[in-house]
Symmetry: C2
Subunit: 224 residues, 2 copies
DNA sequence: ATACATTTGAAACAGTCGTTTGAATTGGGG
DNA sequence: CCCCAATTCAAACGACTGTTTCAAATGTAT
């Protein structure tokens, strides 16, 4: 049975958005792949911008609550968890996205990467206003695992981590072509996640540098 | 005195490419900012694609030889360098780019990020074919600092590191808005670089996980 | 079957894109 | 000064973009 027009559009749009970016994907390409009429995008979603939002939302509304729950459970269970445990809490919520559709986890990570570089801040704002508590809980968990880490350093290291993960997933196709013999088969996403956890856990756990120079007004204010 | 038309185009193009991406920057926007005629881009560079290449090339041809030299010096001086020393070898070649123009280091990193996500593999291919030896030397240096690290793990961790650095630099404007009180002033690029080195050095130095599952044909071949 | 709201369809809209054209202008060597 | 090449310029090209329009088709409740 043929799926909803709305669903058909979302399914094709997210694939194309993930692999070519938002502005390099035309509505005509999406609708032709989805075998629906061009005007149906504007009918069902209003505009291309809202279609992009809808594509991201479909994943976020299952991922973010699952992450929130996993981190809450971690913080309740351990007073001072290992850093690897903190990031292992992401694994199950991420893999759950494969239930939405095949390769769902990979698609979601690629879309996140596109959103961060394409729209320059819009996505960040959207995440914080809609899923602020869950995001704040990430900082709580890292603080529980490494209480001695200064707040400014925590902020930066979490951003480094975001970069590591998003970039890795975003360029997964290219990586598959290099590391695999047959490049049609995609890299096992769970294996990549398991491989990156030691890296980011060790990075966030790095010793606090001696010459920790404060260079922002806000941080200098904290110092006083 | 008014600069070369060619130089004026390059100077404006790299700013716009860095902050909005390649396909979201029209030639009309570039030429109007540079106060030159629209057709001069095609006259001097042939096409938009070749302009993008020229923009990247201007930085790569000073950065890559400097990096090559710094890594060669490191490998000659120490038999087994510290991991932080490996990445500190990047600092001076990167900061040298500020000599090309103001904010040169930041611009270069942002352009690299755009190139990696926009063109999907073209940049990677270009780098390897044109600066293969220098890139291979990065692997040599990490191997010298951590000889026990299996080749497949080395490959992945270097990719994680690339992601950390490029993503951090690419989203530097957004970071400045968050971490600074006055967001007009850009984040001190050298401070960010110094801050990221402990993170990536620690990440690459992470212990080899017990259950190191080999998941690619090529790696399994290495195992035999 | 009739009436009505929902959805689909083909076509056109106004705008932007990279590129090309051919004439006008510029600048240096004989 | 003159010639010729290099460069700049305004204008147009065809292709593509997101969006709108309005008629046709579809489904649903009466």
């Amino acid at each position: 049975m043929r799926l909803d027009t709305k669903t058909r559009i979302l399914d094709e749009a997210e694939i194309l958005f993930a692999e070519r970016g938002f502005s390099d994907t035309s509505l005509r390409l999406i609708t032709s792949r989805a075998e629906v009429n061009l005007a149906s995008v504007n009918y069902h979603f209003g505009s291309k911008k809202e279609l992009i939002r809808a594509v991201l939302e479909r994943y976020l509304e299952t991922f973010m609550p699952a992450l929130d729950q996993a981190l809450t459970h971690l913080l309740r269970t351990y007073q001072r968890p290992e850093m690897t445990q903190v990031f292992e809490a992401f694994v199950e919520p991420l893999l759950k996205l494969n239930g939405i559709r095949e390769q769902g986890t990979t698609l979601f990570m690629q879309l996140l990467g596109r959103g961060y570089s394409d729209t320059q801040g819009h996505l960040r704002w959207y995440l914080i206003t809609n899923y602020g508590p869950a995001i704040a809980k990430i900082g709580d968990a890292v603080r529980a695992a490494y209480p001695e880490l200064p707040p400014s350093e925590l902020f930066w290291r979490l951003h480094f981590t975001l970069g590591t993960v998003i970039f890795t997933m975003a360029s997964q196709r290219a990586l598959g072509e290099i590391s695999d013999a047959d490049f049609n088969e995609s890299v096992d996403i769970e294996a990549v996640i398991r491989r990156v956890i030691p890296y980011i856990a060790s990075g966030v756990s790095a010793p606090i540098p001696e010459n920790l120079r404060m260079n922002t007004q806000k941080v200098q204010a904290l110092k006083v």
